[in-house]
């Protein structure tokens, strides 16, 4: 594997030096540079994943007697499927915009350089380091009937509330939402902060000199320059959000089914890898559709810049 690895950076230097800007150098009959640059990762993923992927996906359509749609039908009959689809979509549609607004606000607060900014940033990034299992654990200990939240209310003389009861689906959803907001906003924040680092202050200062308000500068100067980072954060966050379920499972169990949780349930509890794969393919399809939509909707202008 190491042979393939060194091929990557080396090609940057190995490209024709007589053409001043290598970034626009034509391929001249050789393998084009970008292909050389992406080849190692492409090769690595193919070698590691191609066969497992084919075998894995085939499970959804192969029974003991050859190809079958029985597992897909079985899935469609499952009473948990549609609630799981609904919850997954609902969670993403509500969570992602909130998360981006929150992360952007946090990044802009940091950009205003308050005192203790370093400490704040560190604490805001910390949830990143906490595994989703541990995150589920801590939020459960907050929202459970005799948990920290009800304990705190108790000390103010307020009676506790059954936040996570199946009878209170609204607070249950809100609890999952708050926990996910806490757990995964750091990822967006870090990408946005990394993106903000590259934005020169010049334009912003110029706009400010010409009397633009803060909101105008945000809308017309900062956000457009942050676009590649936002696009990447949006795609990654959505794909990863479709994959996480540990926190929701810890807080609400199967009262709040999510698609990936259903995959695990079918695979482990019901021991039916075939239907599990069928659920997984639904997740895959949703992920791919959203990824394609993001790539189109938030299309950057790389092509116009480089060629």
């Amino acid at each position: 594997m190491s042979g393939a690895v060194t091929a990557g950076p080396a090609t940057v230097g190995g490209q024709p030096g007589d053409h001043p800007p290598p970034v626009v150098a034509p391929a001249r009959g050789k393998v084009p540079t970008p292909v050389l640059l992406i080849a190692p990762s492409l090769l690595f993923l193919t070698v590691l994943f191609a066969w497992p992927m084919v075998v894995g996906v085939a499970q959804a359509f192969t029974g003991d007697q050859g190809p079958t749609l029985a597992y897909v039908r079985r899935l469609l009959d499952d009473p948990y499927l549609w609630p799981a689809v609904r919850n997954t979509v609902l969670l993403i549609v509500v969570l992602i915009p909130l998360q981006f607004a929150f992360a952007l606000a946090m990044a802009l607060l940091l950009r205003a350089r308050p005192k203790l900014a370093g400490l704040y940033f560190y604490i805001w990034v910390l949830p990143l380091a906490i595994s989703d299992l541990a995150a589920g654990l801590v939020w459960l200990s907050i929202f459970t009937d005799h948990g920290y939240l009800n304990s705190a209310l108790h000390s103010f003389g307020v009676d506790g509330y059954a936040w996570l009861s199946y009878e209170n689906p609204t607070t249950m959803f809100l609890a999952v939402l708050v926990a996910e907001l806490w757990r995964a906003t750091s990822l967006v924040l870090v990408i946005i902060v990394a993106g903000l680092q590259g934005i020169p202050n010049d334009y912003d200062e110029a706009a400010s000199v010409f009397g633009a308000t803060y909101w105008q500068r945000l809308r017309w100067v900062i956000l457009p320059q942050l676009r590649p980072s936002l696009q990447v954060a949006m795609i990654l966050r959505t794909i990863l959000a479709l994959q996480t379920f540990a926190v929701a499972q810890a807080l609400a169990g199967r009262d709040f089914p999510l698609l990936v949780g259903e995959t695990y349930h079918w695979y482990h509890t019901l021991q039916n890898p075939n239907v599990a794969t069928a659920v997984a393919l639904v997740v895959l399809a949703v992920s791919m559709v959203t990824a394609i939509a993001y790539l189109h909707l938030l299309r950057d202008r790389t092509a116009e810049v480089t060629r």
Partner: protein
């Protein structure tokens, strides 16, 4: 750090260097492929034991000590994993033809899906005749086929734990050791009223909870005398009607409870039904505050369920002979009693229980014994011969609970609907019924 936006080469060069050094260090570190985490290098001289039991750290430590002192045949690398990893590991190793695990231990339902991947152990079972396994338990090890696939390892059951605070609401004339389902309901209702409207009864309906066993082995057999054949009988409808009422007086947070010992310890509930291993911590600190009582009885008797864990050897295992020696060592009465003492799993071998058990385990042992020895006891086995469908059959019972108790759908309609799905699974498998249903060909809902 630096003032300007772009030209900050010095710090950055150091940063790049740091990253590079880290990368080099990583490669150097991983040159050895890993450090053993199971107290054994997994190479020659040690034997891999994969198990779903004793996963919590303390239980694992205690069981490793037992292995170290009782097993002389080999150094054992004990690897407790959750059931998903257990299944994936056995499946992938057997399918790849490179089995590295020599001994597997799991519950009946966790071994059943791997029937075809396990070695026949008839010779070993023959040589263990002196252990005195009961016929029911030994028969489970055949996994519905003709040959012995696993040797019984440990057993457990489910009982009811009662915090003595709840006794103040016990209806007069009721003996908590000899409850009926109606008396339990009356007690739970009175307790709820007395406790200012807060329910005192809970049961493990969380995602990892074992509540389906309550329907399969306790409620339905006690009301109907059967588990599968009587699934949609009028008595079953009565049982579910009862369940609906019981649930209406149970803690709604039950749908989050996996292990009842925790809400019991926290005082969120005062009475709870669960697996003995999932109740044992509740009375640990103050055993005098607790009662452990047999499950209630219904019109058809006191239905209760056996939980059996077994030991098996995968086909193609590298250390078959020594694995058999370990099975022999783990089924001796002495070892079995030590496992009970340390980890609260009951012996399958004939063994006299000592009088000096830890208090919490002593309470449970008495309840389990009273349950088994009751005149109207009606034993249920976990589903036999369902293989990989075990989980799906249990899911049918969970679905009934969800639709009847949580979604308030009409009982009759739900039972008819779920019975159809249950029959679809059973018709595919064509297995004979297991206790308490009559042994008939093939098992299906009447």
């Amino acid at each position: 750090m630096t003032k300007s936006i772009v030209s900050n080469a010095p710090i950055s060069r150091r940063a790049v260097l740091g990253l590079g050094l880290g990368a080099a260090g990583a490669t150097a570190l991983s040159a050895c492929g890993g450090v053993s985490t199971s107290g054994s290098d997994g190479g020659s001289g040690s034997l891999n034991f994969l198990s779903t039991q004793f996963t919590p750290v303390e239980e694992r430590q205690r069981f490793e000590t037992i292995l170290g002192s009782r097993v002389t045949a080999a150094k054992v690398a004990y690897n407790p994993v959750d059931e998903g990893v257990f299944a994936s590991t056995i499946t992938s190793q057997a399918d790849a033809g490179k089995v590295q695990v020599s001994l597997v231990g799991g519950l009946h339902g966790q071994l059943a899906p791997h029937t075809g991947r396990l070695l026949d152990l008839d010779d070993l079972a023959g040589s263990l005749a002196d252990r005195g396994f009961t016929a029911d338990v030994a028969a489970l090890g055949r996994l519905g086929g003709g040959t012995v696939k696993y040797i019984p390892w440990m057993q457990a059951s489910y009982v009811v734990a009662v915090n003595k605070k709840a006794l103040q609401w016990l209806p007069s004339g009721v003996d908590p050791e000899k409850l009926t389902y109606d008396q339990l309901l009356a007690w739970v209702k009175a307790g709820r009223t007395g406790n200012g409207g807060k329910p005192i009864f809970g049961f493990p309906a969380g995602p990892k909870g074992l509540y389906h066993r309550f329907f399969q082995g306790y409620l339905l057999p006690s009301f109907t005398g059967g588990q599968i054949t009587t699934f949609r009988s009028p008595e079953a409808a009565q049982a579910w009607q009862y369940m609906k009422e019981l649930w209406a007086n149970a803690a709604p947070a039950s749908t989050n409870y996996d292990f009842m010992q925790e809400p019991l310890q926290r005082g969120e509930v005062l009475i709870a039904w669960d697996h003995v291993a999932r109740l044992v911590d509740a009375p640990k600190g103050k055993p005098d505050d607790w009662l452990m009582v047999p499950a209630p009885r219904g019109p058809k008797g006191l239905g209760y369920m056996l939980v059996v864990a077994g030991l098996a050897i995968p086909r193609g295992a590298p250390e078959t002979d020594r694995a058999k020696e370990i099975i022999k060592a783990l089924t001796t009465p002495d070892t079995q009693v030590q496992v009970l003492r340390e980890n609260a799993f009951f012996p399958v071998a004939q063994a006299a229980l000592p009088g000096d058990l830890p208090p919490a385990i002593g309470l449970e042992a008495a309840a389990v014994r009273a349950q088994q020895e009751a005149g109207d006891a009606l034993v249920s086995l976990p589903p036999v011969g369902l293989g990989a469908k075990d989980g799906e059959v249990s899911q049918i019972f969970k679905n009934c609970f969800k639709e009847i108790c949580l979604d308030s759908k009409p009982v009759r309609q739900v039972l008819d609907n779920q019975a159809r799905q249950l029959n679809a699974i059973l018709d595919e498998l064509k297995v004979p019924c297991w206790k308490p249903d009559p042994d008939g060909q093939p098992c299906r809902v009447r």
